[in-house]
Subunit: 219 residues, 2 copies
DNA sequence: CCTCCCCACGTACACCGTACGTCTTTGACC
DNA sequence: GGTCAAAGACGTACGGTGTACGTGGGGAGG
């Protein structure tokens, strides 16, 4: 039948399937059925399932829009990058763990690293410091996204509502948890994300470095 | 023969198996073989594989030593907690993703939350602020551990060495990556972890709050 | 025409989670 | 001791999984 069946089509369909039915639901057979083809046909375009998931991760990461210009204001550039990550994570919530659990040394995977390093350097951090600064922010963003993904997945498997019994909390001596329970339950992920992000940026801003601001003498 | 086969033994053996052969290698059959019993015998102690992984996560999280006293110095308490997380993650590197990918609303899972909230309050953050402060640090730590776990797993599957070709980097226009490549490759995870942690703590220290230090009027 | 290669596809195998039934052991009660 | 019931170890079986391998058809180059 009409089966052009290219690698790109396979990957895009895989992303759709993950977003619809979850990561665990993906299988070569189901994916092939979704494409209206035989299971083994996929192997003409993808060596194995692991490579397919790598391709999925890369495909999603490629949607990152990197339009920030570090030379204008590194703080705004950092904010823009972090929010960009969170935005695409919000677009593919059930695929976040796939992307997070594989590190991509490919060109497309290194593209955000490039911009992040450029931003760190524009902020006045050199050499090892630039790498550390980038890693600090990236790790924070990564943690936020993994956390959010975990919540999303748990909400999707909504059979198990969050069992938070105040009496049980008291019995376990978790007084702070019980007192702050309303604040814990109502989860404004974006506010939390922004809070920590500003925290990091302000700390970086207070750090000693070669050029105090974006408008300076760079290499 | 000698098969006491308790739930605790099953979980501990599962952890061993994950650490030895990786998360993907775990299966009810292999785990049973490791225990010298039949596969179906496990189901007398664990409802299904998902619950077993939950139990694994809980078992590992239970090894967290929470001996920090927030009332003495909240900064040192925060450091101690964060390092505690990283230490047990280092003890069970291949199980980190299992723990990270499931959120635990059980008593043992909430125990660290309790201490973290107590620490945030001791630092002078109240209500919603305490929750946000805790989440910021926890998310950063989580990101670091996931990152490290990803690296560890990639190193264990050492078949694919990190292909970082300088010529290819130049061709892709990744000049910053190429220039900082040595700093990127030599990975001092602990230094990076501490750097970001101090960053966050210093930023929190600079934040306005009700009581400027641990020794103050709380509540 | 023939030939060769690409690629879709079916079959097959080993392994997976687990529902179900069976058998052995154990321990409580008379 | 005898009896009965519950617990738990185990085998079998079913539907699903990744993928190695062989087969067949259709388009391109001679």
């Amino acid at each position: 039948m009409g089966s052009p069946l290219s690698r790109d089509l396979i990957v895009r369909t895989a992303v759709e399937l993950i977003e619809r039915d979850g990561v665990n639901a993906i299988s070569m057979r189901r994916l092939a059925a979704e494409l209206g083809s035989g299971a083994m046909s996929l192997y003409n375009h993808v060596p194995n399932k692991s490579a397919l998931l790598d391709a999925v991760a890369e495909h999603i990461l490629a949607e990152l829009e990197l339009d920030a210009d570090p030379s204008v204001d590194w703080r705004e550039a950092a904010r823009s990058m972090a929010r960009g990550f969170r935005e695409v994570a919000g677009r593919y919530p059930r695929s976040v763990m796939v992307v997070a659990s594989r590190q991509l040394n490919t060109t497309v995977g290194l593209r955000p690293v490039e911009l992040a390093l450029a931003t760190a350097r524009a902020a006045g951090f050199d050499g090892q410091a630039a790498v550390q600064v980038m890693r600090a922010v990236v790790n924070y963003v990564l943690g936020c996204l993994v956390h959010e993904a975990s919540l999303t997945e748990a909400r999707w498997a909504a059979d198990a509502a969050p069992r938070l019994d105040e009496a049980a909390l008291d019995a376990a001596g978790l007084v702070n948890v019980r007192e702050l329970l309303p604040a814990l339950v109502e989860h404004d992920s974006e506010a939390d994300f922004e809070f920590g992000l500003e925290l990091l940026i302000s700390a970086l801003d207070a750090l000693p470095r070669t050029s105090p601001d974006g408008a300076g003498s760079s290499g």
